[in-house]
């Protein structure tokens, strides 16, 4: 895997921040609450270490997995995955918030999640994913197609390692983007991650390089005209 320059890392972070911003806007509309978004954390690590650094492997979470395909970038092939992680309290609180708006009473004494709650989180993830990917594909001028959302309700370690195993035969290192949200007045802190196939990542970096190269070229030209 090629080393990333600071400029490349910054530009990828910037593109992710645009995606996260659009996702938070969608979440805000769904919940009618203000949302705080953290600046995405972009890290390149050996695949084996990724699950550990993303959180406590023992923590029980609801995870929603969405596969990504791209017509333009990689034929119809799998190019990456978007993973939404809802820690237990966040999963309970957020699903209650969403379902109560639809007049569905959630049994709060129940510490397990029912099917309606899980499906509310799947649906939410689907909307957030759509919003952020639409923004990202616009910036990069690529078409991204999502699969249906699939959920799991288990420890973070077991879930993430299974997702990472999907690309373990192709890459030694993984670039992860992690962003978290906080919903006002609530202890709801879901986060989402984007994992890219190595070939897609390479194409993304090239695209970013070209984009920024053009921008820098414009800038230099402008400066030249000014100083003349």
């Amino acid at each position: 895997m090629q080393e990333l320059t600071k400029l490349e890392l910054d530009s990828i972070t910037e593109i992710m921040a645009i995606g996260a911003g659009h996702a938070s806007k969608a979440l805000s509309q769904m919940t009618e609450k203000r949302i705080k978004v953290k600046v995405p954390k972009v890290e390149m690590r050996p695949l084996e270490k990724t699950a550990e650094i993303l959180g406590n492997p023992h923590e029980v979470v609801v995870t929603v997995y969405i596969g990504l395909k791209s017509g333009e970038m990689d034929g119809q092939k799998h190019v990456g995955s978007l993973v939404f992680v809802y820690p237990m309290e966040s999963a309970i609180e957020l699903s209650r918030l969403l379902l109560e708006k639809e007049d569905y009473k959630v049994d709060t004494s129940n510490l397990e999640l029912d099917e309606m709650q899980i499906s509310a989180l799947e649906e939410t993830s689907n909307i957030l994913s759509g919003a952020s990917l639409a923004a990202i594909s616009k910036v990069l001028n690529v078409e991204i197609i999502e699969t249906l959302p699939y959920s799991s309700y288990d420890s973070l370690g077991a879930t993430l390692s299974s997702i990472l195993a999907e690309i373990a035969s192709k890459t030694q290192e993984v670039l992860t983007f992690k962003t978290s949200f906080k919903i006002e007045d609530h202890e709801i802190k879901p986060y989402f991650m984007l994992l890219l196939e190595p070939r897609t990542l390479k194409k993304l970096i090239n695209k970013v390089d070209t984009l920024f190269h053009d921008l820098l070229a414009d800038y230099v030209e402008e400066e030249y005209t000014e100083t003349r």
Partner: protein, 159 residues
Amino acid sequence: MMVGKKSVWAGEITVVDKPFLLEAIGLGSCIAVCLYDEIHGIGGLAHIMLGHRPEKTREEINPLRYADKAIDEMVKQMIDEGSKQYNLKAKIFGGSAMFSNSIFKIGDQNIKAVKEKLAEKKIKIIAEDVGGKKGRNVWFNTEDGSVVVGNAFGKTREY
């Protein structure tokens, strides 16, 4: 007496000739292969992520992610410690499918690859808890070869 505890993460193997508690946390589609030589008190745990390593795999990729390479290496290290291959017994755990989607087939592939490799080495599987939809944590006690398997919700069972 137990000397200590060691975590074995994905893509790692650990072999000990003293009483240790070897733990493998967060097994989803991954498998913990526990090998034990009762006569010499030697134990090993491999935390594998994938099945057989294809020929054309890129050099830089950690070979211990793969069931066949990791088991080969673990058996070699156990023999180096003084074990005999015909003494080894296996217990295997993991290989589940965490998502309700048929594209996640790695768990099943891992179970198959581990069983094939152990059969090739004539190592008998004396206990197993594989497949299903839930994650597992494994604690392998190399003092007596016993293994405790737990899930994320606190349920445990001894093998």
